[in-house]
Structures are given as C-alpha cells and as structure tokens.
C-alpha cells in the first residue's frame, strides 16, 4: 500500500510577533524581536524581567461573554485554529457531520490553563476565599485548549493532547501526521498553545536558574541563542496550528498545499530530567530522516531548539554535527526563539510554522542578536538577518524537552 502523504494546507499563529501568520513571518523576516520588559503586574516579586508577551485583546477575537469562559491558552488556540482552518478552507469544504468524524485534533501544551489556576490559587491561598468559579476545572485542564478547538468546529475524529514540556506540540504534529498516514483520519488540526506568564510560574522558572537576565541595553535582545553572551531562555506565549491533510483529500477539494510533513522522530534521553543528551537528539533526527527517506543533504534549513541555555545550545550543535557530518557546515541553522521567546508546549508548532517559512519565498529566518557565535556552537548560523535563497527541498525542526523527550519533524516542499 502506498504511503499516504500528509499535506499542510493551512497555518495559524498567535505570538508576540503578531497574531496571524503574515505578521509572524514579516517579523521573522525583519529579525524583529517580540521580547520586552514585562509589566509589573505580570512579574510581581518573581524577579523575572523579560518575556515575549502577546499583544492580546480578547474582546477583539471573542464576542460578549465567550472570552470569560476561556483561559488565555484556549483563546490563543481558538484564534490560531480559526486562522488555519479559514486559510485551508477545510471546514467550509466539509460541512457534513460524518465527514468531521474523519477530522481530528492533536494538541500540545505544557501548563494548560495556567492563568485559571493562578486565579484560583490567589483566591484560596491569598484571600482564604474558597468560592472558585465553577468553570475553573474545565478552563484549567490540560486538554481544554484542544477540546475547545474540537468543539468549536465539530471535529469528531481522533483526539489527543500531549504534555511533554517543550516538545508537546511537535509531538502533536508528528502523531497527527501518523494518524493520517495510518488512515485513522483524513485531516487533523495539529498544534499547541501556552499562556503561563503568571507570577507563580515565572517564580518557578526563575528558581530553576535557566532564564536569561534582561539585556539592560536592549531588552528585546535578551535571548541570544548560540551567542557567547547567552544567559538562558526567555519565556513566551502564544499558539500555532497546522491543518494537516491527506494529499488526495486536499487535492480533491483544490486546496493549496504549502508543504508535506514527511518525517517524525521521537526518542527519550532517559538519562536526566533537565540535562539534554546528545545521543537522544541524534537518534530523533536520524529517525525523522529515516522516515522521510531523505538524505541528510536534502535538508536545507534547520529550525533549532536553541533555547539559549549554556549547555543546551552546545549539545544540540554537537548532535546536528553528529547527524549531518560535513553537511552541518552548509545547512542554515537558526533559533527563532530569539524573537518569539520559548513557547514551551507551543514551541514545536510555532517553530514548525517558522521552519516552513522558506517554502513560501526562500526566506530563512535568522537567529536574532547572534553577534558573537560561541565556537562550541559551530554550525552554519543564519545570524542577525534573514537570508534569501533558493526554496529548499526539505526543512527540519527540533524540539527537545525537559523530561528528556526529543521530537524532530521534517517537512518537504510541495
């Protein structure tokens, strides 16, 4: 039986770089950072000074009381999913309920409805007020964002929610691709969202000593992946969604195909809860390449995990060199986290969206602020400015998570 090819027919984004795909791509192309000094009511006493906060007005996206029943993480999810579905034309083309039994949702998030939890804790522990909103549970639960997406568009096919920290939504895309390949669905909405910029969450991250201090001269440049001056990651928020669709299904309705997802590698380091392991990353990249059937040289851009931690960036570059050998010095690599921040559960999806950018017009997004590359991170960097070149045959996106989960995705041009 021939392999069912999985097309990308729609994309949607909410981020500090803009609340739609076009703005997101424009920002990446211009190397514009969405990182900034966080307002005092977000940081409180956490000591965290910078983050990539989305410019978000719920009332602009939701009518009347609708927004109040949705945690920010679900608001992001619904908005990005709406953009992706509209762009793909999928729901418009599939009105029948029976057809929607063949369309599913795979979602990823690290912390789910963090703001709802924060509000509840504030009430219980801060005010000794145990009278919590009745919707607290369904707003905070980890599967709320994906479920809200399924409910909104009546997507009645396979549903799964992944919570593997920073690889969550990359896993959602990989598993959604496999669901289509296996014939369990004709189309899947695959993506992820995160909205955990709350004082408590920031304090927890700060305690881990993994966040970058603010760049005093230029707060927007606080996240410096692969740079000698890097000091850690910068947290972000937002959502990204891909509409994945079996090729013949997409072609039958005349949909525009942006790319094909053809490789998915999934491994676990099984060595440490936070320290990355080169071998686990190498195996994930090799598995993704193996599934795609592509030679390493076919990869024309790697969107790195590149969180800008001291250890993480070095290990990833070593892993890339181990997999690609000499070609590692020819394949453009960048970490777009330098601009949109680390979306954690949403990172895999938003970085897949960034990785697909060269397919549109050959523009490869850069690692912003990379002025002094660390010799220990010697790969072919796209530093400071986007590069325009030929449209690559294929691209790779890496997502490596706390807990040791490694997910690598490969997409091919349409």
């Amino acid at each position: 039986m021939p392999v069912r090819r999985v097309a990308v027919t729609g994309l949607g984004v909410v981020s500090a770089l803009g609340n739609n795909l076009a703005e997101f791509y424009r920002s990446l192309a211009a190397a514009r950072s969405g990182v900034r000094r966080l307002p005092d009511d977000v940081t409180l006493g956490s000591g965290v000074q910078v983050g990539a906060l989305a410019a978000w007005d719920a009332a602009a996206h939701f009518k009347g009381p609708e927004a109040a029943a949705l945690d920010r993480v679900s608001q992001f999810a619904l908005t990005a999913a709406g953009e992706a579905l509209t762009a793909s034309g999928l729901v418009a083309a599939q009105p029948a309920a029976t057809a929607r039994e063949r369309i599913g949702v795979c979602w990823g998030t690290g912390m789910g409805g963090a703001q709802t939890l924060d509000a509840a804790y504030k009430s219980v522990y801060g005010k000794n007020d145990f009278r919590l909103r009745p919707l607290s549970v369904v707003m905070a639960m980890n599967n709320a964002a994906g479920s809200n997406v399924a409910v909104k568009w009546g997507l009645r096919g396979p549903f799964a929610n992944f919570s593997t920290a920073c690889s969550s939504s990359a896993m959602a895309i990989g598993e959604a691709m496999h669901a289509i390949r296996a014939g369990r669905a004709d189309a899947m909405l695959a993506g992820g969202s995160e909205a955990l910029l709350t004082p408590g969450m920031l304090a927890a991250w700060q305690a881990l000593r993994t966040l970058s201090p603010m760049d005093a001269d230029d707060p927007a440049a606080s996240c410096k992946p692969f740079d000698q001056r890097r000091g850690g990651l910068v947290l972000g928020e937002g959502a990204a969604v891909l509409v994945l669709e079996e090729e013949a299904h997409a072609r039958a309705r005349g949909a525009t195909i942006h790319a094909f997802i053809s490789g998915y590698g999934n491994t676990c380091d099984a060595t440490h809860m936070s320290k990355p392991d080169r071998d686990g990353q190498v195996r994930a990249m090799a598995l993704a390449l193996g599934e795609s059937g592509l030679a390493p040289e076919a990869i024309g851009y790697i969107n790195a995990h590149g969180t800008a931690t001291i250890v993480g960036d070095v290990v990833e570059c070593e892993a890339i060199k181990a997999v690609f050998g000499d070609a590692a010095m020819r394949i453009p690599v960048s970490s777009t986290k330098s601009m949109h921040g680390h979306l954690l559960g949403g990172a895999g999806a938003i970085e897949m969206a960034a990785a697909l950018m060269p397919f549109a017009d050959g523009i490869v997004p850069p690692t912003a602020h990379l002025e002094r590359p660390d010799p220990a991170c010697a790969v072919r960097h796209v530093a400071l400015k986007a590069e325009r070149g030929a449209i690559p045959r294929a691209v790779m996106s890496n997502s490596f998570a706390f807990g040791g989960s490694n997910v690598v995705l490969i997409a091919e041009r349409a």
Binding site: K63, G64, P65, E66, A68, A69, R133, P134, L135, V138
Partner: protein
C-alpha cells in the same frame, strides 16, 4: 430595578441571551443555556444578590422565573435589594 429585571440583565450579559427572546418561563435549555453555562451563571447570580443556592435547590430551577422566586425568597426581607 426588580429582581427579575436584574436577573434578565445578568443573563443578557453573561449568557449572551437575546433581550427580545427572553421568556422567563421558558426552560433554560430552550434558551440555549446548557448545564455548565447555568452553573457558571448561578455563580454570578449568587455574587449579584449576595445569596447562596444549595445544590438541592439548584436542581429545582428550570427557568429564569424559578430562579427569580428562589432568589427573592433567599433575600433578607427588609430594606435590601
């Protein structure tokens, strides 16, 4: 403003009900209010009127008129709205 009018206003705001179509005697389901939305709405009603509705009483409320009767009976008698 009387109790029913306040409940109606709250329902328009919190449940996005059409002011022209609110029938206080219509079953809530007919107004498009599901059980989850209703429980969240009751939370707001309790805040608005400073009352507490027990689970047992909640189950007896089938329409906004039932709700109004219940709230009115729960309100302190003198001088308070």
């Amino acid at each position: 403003m009387d109790t029913l009018a306040r409940i109606k206003d709250l329902a328009i705001k919190e449940l996005a009900l059409d002011p022209a179509k609110i029938d206080p005697n219509a079953p809530l389901a007919e107004l498009g209010v599901d059980s989850l939305s209703f429980i969240e709405f009751m939370f707001k009603v309790e805040d608005e009127f400073g009352v507490k509705v027990s689970d047992e009483d909640l189950r007896k409320i089938k329409c906004l008129a039932d709700l109004e009767r219940h709230v009115a009976a729960s309100l302190p008698a003198a001088g308070k709205a």
